[in-house]
Symmetry: D3
Subunit: 263 residues, 6 copies
């Protein structure tokens, strides 16, 4: 079983009415028609408005969609999506979500704000803080960060810093309630170059601002960093992020149906 | 059958995580437990971010929840909600949604940004423009406006202006696709003083800006107006509004369940 | 509460793939979006292939769709369907279902094989045979007949023959298991001129053939009849019919969803 | 809208496996097939084992099923249930639920332990204690009591005692959390002679025992009473009761489906 | 994951009312009770009436039911179906679907018109034409063909002709929109001797007639063929087929429930 | 795929109202939020009142909950339950279900009446009697027995007696309809020391009493037994049991939803 995080940003709110209609009227039913037998979860979370100052952290404004897959969707026929009948894409799709022109909907090239799609194990590879937290422990504002290390920094070198140096420092943030991370698995970086997803949970918008902007802990800058502020990775180049709540707007397999066809 | 529009604004995004949890985990299931037998529709629409400049129009940032009632919910026992067991309210509820302190969740007093709850007939009383529009006619950004006339202006006088003078002028807005209005029915102004709801539909954010801010038609200011700009009613005093899409985030009776109890 | 029977025939099987797609992908979700609050049942039965010889009895080959309405759907706004947004019709719709050219989807003019839409009380006005039958009494093949009396024959005169003379004779059919009838209520004959619906139930195809074609009882021809064979009404002029099973293919309000929008 | 309480007792646990199968496999789907358009709620609660000593209070051991009806189910055709096809009853039904031999499933005659079916308004006619209680106020064990006054005591006389004298005394029970009552409406006493339903809520089994058996308040015995102990009505003659939880085992219209047929 | 196609024909329409009732009332709920944990899709498509001339192509008139299995259903206990409790079969089952007398419901022997049950990989092994087609490309009439090669012709020899010679010729059919094929996997030919399933898609009935009967391309007859017309395999001996639409009548795991029991 | 049986007893009915609320309002939704992607079935059966004399057989009075797992839930993160957010437990949980004080909710230590949780293959390892039984063969009262052999008796030695000697003798019980058994798989004895589950099915309560207490067959006592009566294992030490019906009260994945959150 593998799990994926897909962050999608709209380049302009003008695309919102038609993109939402396409998602619910066409795309989700087609995805379920074609892939439901290998999907164990298919849920979408709407992005919460960023706390003031949060947009600078590579903020994605539309959605994070999460899939749990029984098997890799890249086997023959699965990615089309279906093998019998294919999914439909609005002709303005690439523009609406920022895919470089000439690139396919699920191509490998990536530029700032294009969809970020990353595959991970179902459970985090590292739990840094707050293990055992429950819903009774107050509000949850999830800051989901998808990232890589800069060119020239190996995953091992980067991870050594992130896990051994950086994460313990982040745990000193005032009001950080939960912090865990997933190392990407194959297929790595399906869309975009990313290799890790981390989730950092706060009580609410003010708590995030306080922890990240107003009263940050001391951080050690890695020697290889070319970006001198937390998180020492360049926004929209080395990382993107979004803010989510605990509840998916829609858990498609459980709560949604639509026009269902052969696969 | 009567229908109601309930607009709710959050006074601070900090309330968002807990208010969303309360809505879906506690409130909607309790409402359905207690009122489903008299509810024929119970759907919630999330507010879309306002177009730039739109926040000045008494913008409500959280939700519009729509109910269709088989009968008035103000009969004995129904408003508690249930008669056997009552609904739960978070203790920060009044602060989160801006209810004046000392006022009840569904009290009659109203001040700027407090919930606006208005009852109307199931179908509009006036259709000014775009009758017959379908989903094939492009995107839909709904501007939902709940309003009254200023103190001293009777409903008849106000409506005479709104229907005979103002609405035809509004129909001249470039790109206005659909425009209809509902005159309130009993129980009028359950929360707040409002007496009409209108919906104005545009293609998207830019279309709204163009129609309302950048290239407005000529409007006639009513003699009684104390607010000199469109719509000649004072924001957050005489009217509030929000921006919605065509699809409810959740149609509770169809798509949601939760912990169900006796009524 | 009123109930309606809507029989629809396809003029050519070539329309089947697109008409089925329109029904499930577009039409049923739009109908539910716009009318669900006043619909208490909305179910569709596919026509069973007619027994040999059955096609001559004004057989409709596609569907019978049944609605139960809380109130008349002809109140302002309801028939469009919605008041805010209207339903979509395929451009080949009139041709596909045999509506006379120039006539609207729900117009009053009718010709052979055009949709027949008739409103009745929720329960039959007459039960001629088999009251108390249960599912344990064997198979059920429903012959649903929608009819009127010929021009010049009043409803009273026609009903006098149908109820007093004809129905008792029909009850003598070998193997007829159940026979009941509904007299139309307002809005009468929404599409088409019909004033009654009757259901006659048989064990299966052979039973129908035996009862109706091979071993019919003696029938009395009414003096006003211009058609000399059972049922003494001219097929496709004075009556149409179809064959159904006990189970709806889809009970939309219970078992179907789709893209749900504002009404 | 009217609401009904139906208490059913099994005369022997030996009937349990087949009666449960009949209820869920046959009866509920048939009821929904035939009556769903006029049912606004159809939920069943399983009886909780009685607290020690509770069986003496006319305890019903199987279920309370609750219906909310858009209209009286006694109109033509509705009680059969369906008009087209009727519901099935197991041949041991009368024995299993204690219906007097020779009596119909929904006949008027009643004897001890036979089903008790009573129609009331949707909301209580009297709320004696605990109005405003919520789920956050602890556990809820509902004692549901269906009763009449002894022969010779008029409803007015009986109610005068019950509402003016008895209920205030009952409110003195230690640990009684909630107490409300419904006066029957037409059709009164469909099965059985009863004219009132009351619900008394306790924290749990021990609380009921303490309040009712171990530390009862002082009660005034009505002059007409022929039964000298609380509640001054003869068990299984003048009243029956059962113990329920707050959550229905199944809310059929929301959470259940089954084989669906024509009505 | 494996997928199966099950084509079932009714030997007489007289079986239709009871077979449909058995399928929906008994069989599908039993199958789901016993096998749902290993089923990832369980959907049934009703056969569309054959285009004129289509019945001669080994046409099956009732249904194609499709399963996606997490694992082979032939492991101990799964085929009975359940291990605890077994499924029920109507006593006329073998006659209704044409199973040779003395043979079991899922036996290996096969004769003309008996059910054809074949297991394949989830995605086609060959896509001959129309890859990438979407729902926007018009109507879809699916011709599903299950076949083997005549006695004495090895799978290799047969496939060499089918894939290298025949399929490219079929792709020349006027109006053929899509053509793909699955090679059977273990358990091969559970019911019946078949080793391949192909799907050929047309716009509608007329398109099939035009492509297959009226304006066929030139075909090369294989040397081993004992049947001199397209498709060079003997109907009801070497192949059977049916016509379906894109939408399943029922996707049981998503859209259906029923009486659910232990497995 | 593995399957588990979880028997839970309440130490006092006083816990019933709050434990039922916790199960349906909090626990099942949390379990589904966190584990649904690896759960293929998650159903709960309420315990039926024991036949008279049945309580002495280590009777558990509350529930048996059954899970089918795609993979072991003991992989990193799954047992907490979630890795991101953990499940909530009422503070009286250990007391309510009889977990030894100081032990965790899913700890290994076990004492009489504490939850018994055992993992098995999806299908029985032994079917002793009644293979092929269907729902048409009458009522089903399931006696579910979870057991181990006494200290000092190896699984091999114990199984040799159980399968070779004891089971055939049990099959002689008058009225025993079905008897099958599962040998535990890893993770063995998650909660409690048990190594086998058997199901014995009877027509009803009286049949159980007759078969087990009133007219038992001759049994051979194993030499190692320290308990001299059937089943030669000490109740609440070497075995526990409960009585269930064929239908789960709730099949959570199919029929239940609730507040759904991230995992």
């Amino acid at each position: 079983m593998i799990r994926s995080y897909l962050l999608v940003n709209l380049t302009d709110w003008d695309y919102l009415p038609l993109m939402e209609r396409w998602l619910y009227k066409d795309h989700a039913p087609e995805t379920m028609s074609q892939l439901a037998p290998i999907l164990h979860r298919y849920a979408t979370y709407r992005a919460v408005p960023a706390p003031m100052g949060g947009e600078a952290f590579g903020y994605y404004n539309w959605r994070m969609t999460e899939h749990w897959w029984a098997e890799s969707p890249f086997k023959a026929g699965a990615m089309g999506h279906g093998s019998a009948i294919s999914e439909t894409w609005p002709k303005y799709y690439a523009k609406a979500v920022g895919i470089p022109s000439g690139e396919q909907a699920r191509g490998k090239a990536w530029r700032a704000k294009a969809p970020a799609f990353i595959f991970v194990a179902p459970r985090p590879t590292e739990s840094f803080k707050g293990d055992g937290i429950t819903i009774e422990d107050g509000g949850i504002l999830r800051w989901v960060v998808v990232f890589k290390y800069p060119g020239g920094v190996s995953k091992e070198e980067g991870d050594d810093w992130y896990i051994r140096i950086h994460a313990p420092e982040v745990c000193e943030q005032v009001g950080l309630k939960r912090f865990f991370s997933f190392s990407a698995v194959d297929p790595t970086s399906l869309i975009g170059p990313f290799i890790r997803v981390s989730e950092l949970w706060y009580e609410n918008h003010s708590s995030w601002r306080n922890a990240v902007l107003e009263n940050p802990p001391q951080y050690s800058r890695p020697s290889w960093s070319r970006y001198d502020r937390f998180p020492f990775l360049e926004p929209d180049v080395d990382f993107v992020s979004t803010f989510l709540l605990e509840r998916p707007e829609c858990d498609f397999l459980k709560d949604y149906r639509g026009y269902n066809i052969t696969a």
